[in-house]
């Protein structure tokens, strides 16, 4: 089957089809691939099982292990650069996991240009955030547990991106979900934080359900769940099946990446400590959905309906998140809206097919840098302001916290897409690719992305203006101060990459060449709008919108309590009624159903059983009275019985 499949294979899939046999066995530096995952996992085990004994040095160990993983990843990157394009996919078989006739799943890792990019992002940004957390969590009694969970997260996320089968990917997928739950609810002595953790976990389950059904459908269709096997079998499957698998994978991506309609958990997930928001809910875990769709591109390329659905979800979410982000006064929730919106861009890009895969991943990487940077800077602001998150209580902080201000501005320039900083190369490319999709579809996606860029400029300028400019609206007891080195240095490193990351990846088509073994050669595009014109239009929109926001929030006084606002503002403050919809559609009917079932259980099932028991009980308590204690009455009943028997016998005989 494999042989015929690769003949039928369309061009972009060729490299994937060759994978099971074609993946080079792991030798040299690659033989250490398993260590990349094992090290953070070991760290998590030591810290969580070791208990208080590891309090003194646990955080140092937990920080060192991802750094070693990062170095291993770097070594692999260079080893990969030394190989030809065709030999850049390296597989490592660890052991046979489920050896059943007809269903063989091996635990195997595969590293290719796509996953090595993720490994570097996860361990690189992860290491910086570990360093930052040493200082950020210094006064928390449970810092060791926090680092244990962080290491668990890193290990799970690495497993997710290095898995060679969807089933093993699912293990990592659940692992990051667990780590996310544990970390959102890290301060679970506050009931609302514990609720936020539960909410994230439960909403993610909806998506996980999609992934598990997708895996079952893959096995039913292709007889295998390995990523390469599915890619090889895809051309022979029917459109309907591929669309079904695609839509189920999209459901999974929606849950993990907080896309509409499963978006409501991300805002509440900000209950976790800020480094968690930066690492899990901005830079890495929430982008797993984008990774999943990009990984399964062989399925999506042949399932146009599912692909369109992906693009629509992305376009809707990028506007949704931006509108929510523009109305929130909580700096972290505003950034969460922004994360949702930026991931919307990536999902839109992967929904565009071969046009957008590379830009989606490029934007994912630069977003990982600048959004982690923005969150860490926000954390630094909160650190200096006694954990105040309300931006109406900030103002004029640029003098008090110059380094934080510089880092934040770097992230700000990157996300706005001001040339020559990161977002300009990655986000504007997505807008361009959306227009290049062509037809009415292309115009809708393109205009949505363009409008989203203007909104992005608005809410980001609003955050910067309310936090760093304008009057001081601090609480009386606030004494803002710059954060310690351990926090500012990681921020500044990320700020550096926020500024230059985009140029490093995109200039000269470097990244699309790099990802060619995975996604195939760059397609030839016919531009709907000339890139130069589009760039100018985007820039004008961004600057106009940023200017408007700056005039409103920096040059005019910001009231200490939020004004009533128009109906859009009110809606956006309430997450565009995301929770209301969930409550109306799922929670209330669910409650009514349970109430009905309780009623049915009490009044029908219990009533039947209890009624029967009461009947028998009543009958027996009456017949009990026959037992009088008088021997002669028993003798009489025996006599009567014997007489009856004899009469009966005599009557039958006659």
């Amino acid at each position: 089957m494999m042989g015929t499949a690769s003949v039928l294979m369309s061009e972009p899939l060729l490299s994937q089809a060759a994978l099971p046999g074609g993946a080079t066995a792991a030798t040299g530096a690659f033989s250490l691939l398993w260590l990349v995952i094992a090290l953070p996992l070991l760290g998590a085990l030591i810290l969580l099982a070791g208990g208080r004994r590891t309090d003194a040095w646990g955080h140092l160990l937990a920080t060192a292990l991802p750094i070693v993983s990062f170095l291993l990843g770097t070594v692999m990157l260079f080893a990969m650069l030394g190989h030809d394009d065709t030999a850049r996919t390296v597989g490592q078989h660890l052991y046979s996991w489920i050896p059943v006739a007809g269903f063989n799943v091996d635990v195997g890792l595969v590293v290719d240009p796509l996953s090595v990019a993720f490994v570097l992002l996860i361990t690189g940004v992860g290491s910086l955030i570990h360093i930052y957390s040493i200082s950020y969590m210094e006064h928390d009694a449970d810092r060791r547990r926090f680092f244990g969970y962080l290491n668990l997260f890193i290990a799970s996320m690495l497993l997710l991106v290095l898995a060679d089968s969807y089933l093993l990917l699912y293990v990592g997928w659940e692992g990051v979900g667990l780590a996310s739950y544990l970390l959102i609810g890290f301060w679970n002595y506050k009931p609302e934080y514990a609720t936020a953790a539960k909410k994230a976990f439960i909403m993610n389950r909806v998506g996980d359900f999609g992934l598990s059904v997708a895996i079952m459908a893959m096995f039913a269709t292709f007889g295998t769940v390995s990523i390469a096997g599915v890619a090889a079998g895809a051309p022979e499957a029917t459109k309907g099946t591929l669309n079904l698998i695609g839509l189920l994978l999209l459901l999974a991506a929606c849950g993990k990446s907080a896309q509409v309609p499963l978006q409501a958990w991300l805002g509440d997930a900000m209950a976790g400590p800020t480094p968690v928001s930066a690492l899990i809910h901005a830079a890495t875990m929430v982008t797993a959905g984008v990774y999943l769709i990009a990984r399964a591109h062989a399925v999506f390329d042949l399932a146009p309906a599912a692909q369109t659905a992906v693009a629509i979800v992305g376009a809707v979410t990028l506007l949704f998140g931006a509108i929510v982000g523009a109305a929130k006064d909580d700096i972290k929730k505003s950034l969460a809206g922004s994360t949702m919106s930026q991931i919307g861009y990536m999902v839109l890009a992967v929904g565009l097919g071969p046009l957008g895969y590379v830009f989606a991943i490029a934007h994912l990487l630069t977003h990982g840098f600048f959004k982690a940077n923005l969150f860490l800077s926000a954390g630094s602001v909160m650190h200096g302001m006694d954990d105040e998150v309300n931006m109406r209580r900030y103002g004029g902080l640029r003098k008090a916290m110059p380094l934080t201000f510089i880092a934040f501005i770097a992230g700000y320039l990157a996300i706005l897409g001001i040339p020559p900083f990161a977002g300009f190369f990655t986000k504007d490319k997505i807008i361009e690719a959306a227009f290049d999709k062509g037809g009415a579809e292309g115009w809708i996606y393109g205009l949505a992305a363009l409008f989203g860029a203007a909104l992005t400029a608005f809410y980001m300028t609003r955050i910067v203006a309310m936090t760093f400019f304008g009057d001081k609206r601090w609480a009386d007891e606030a004494h803002p101060h710059e954060s310690p080195r351990l926090m500012t240095v990681p921020m500044l490193v990320l700020a550096f990459f926020s500024l230059v990351g985009g140029a490093m990846l995109i200039l000269g088509g470097r990244f699309s060449t790099w990802l060619e073994p995975v996604f195939g050669p760059e397609p030839v595009v016919t531009h709907t709008i000339q890139p130069v014109v589009l760039t100018v239009v985007t820039l004008v929109a961004v600057l106009a919108s940023a200017g408007l926001a700056f005039r409103t929030y920096a040059q005019q006084a910001v009231p200490a309590t939020a004004p009533a606002g128009s109906f859009i503002t009110v809606a956006a403050r309430r997450d565009l009624y995301g929770d209301t919809v969930n409550e109306a559609v799922f929670m209330r009917p669910g409650q009514y159903l349970t109430r009905f079932l309780v009623f049915f259980d009490n009044r029908v099932i219990d009533a039947t059983v209890n009624g029967l028991a009461a009947l028998i009980g009543g009958l027996s308590s009456r017949s009990r009275r026959l037992q009088t204690g008088f021997a002669r009455s028993y003798a009489l009943s025996m006599f009567a019985g014997a007489t009856l028997l004899i009469v009966a016998v005599v009557l039958v005989r006659i």
């Binding site: 009990r624 009275r625 037992q627 009088t628 204690g629 008088f630 021997a631 002669r632 003798a635 009489l636 006599f639």
Partner: protein, 99 residues
């Protein structure tokens, strides 16, 4: 030989015994009436045995006597014990074991 006369006597004895068990209150008398019923049965057994010329009925009669003897031993012991504790031999007074 006609068994009628024997069977009539046996029936009479059995009826007397049954009536005694149902009517009399004194445990000893009730006990004797039970014996009377058993012996009525024995008489019927022996008559049929004689009539049929086989020994089965006579053997059965011996069994009944043995059982009756054993029963008398246990029964009288219970009656004496009840009489000692309750100063009464009336079967209606021994009515604690009830609902």
């Amino acid at each position: 030989m006609s068994p009628t006369a024997y069977l009539v006597v046996a029936s009479l004895l059995f009826t007397l015994g049954a009536a005694g068990v149902l009517i009399r209150r004194n445990a000893i008398v009730v006990f004797m009436c039970v014996e009377l019923m058993l012996n009525a049965c024995n008489l019927a057994f022996v008559s049929f045995s004689r009539l049929n010329g086989s020994l089965d009925g006579q053997v059965m009669a011996f069994f009944v006597m043995v059982v009756a003897a054993a029963e008398v031993v246990v029964g009288l012991a219970i009656i004496v014990s009840i009489f000692r504790t309750r100063r009464s031999a009336s079967v209606d007074d021994a009515n604690l074991l009830k609902y």
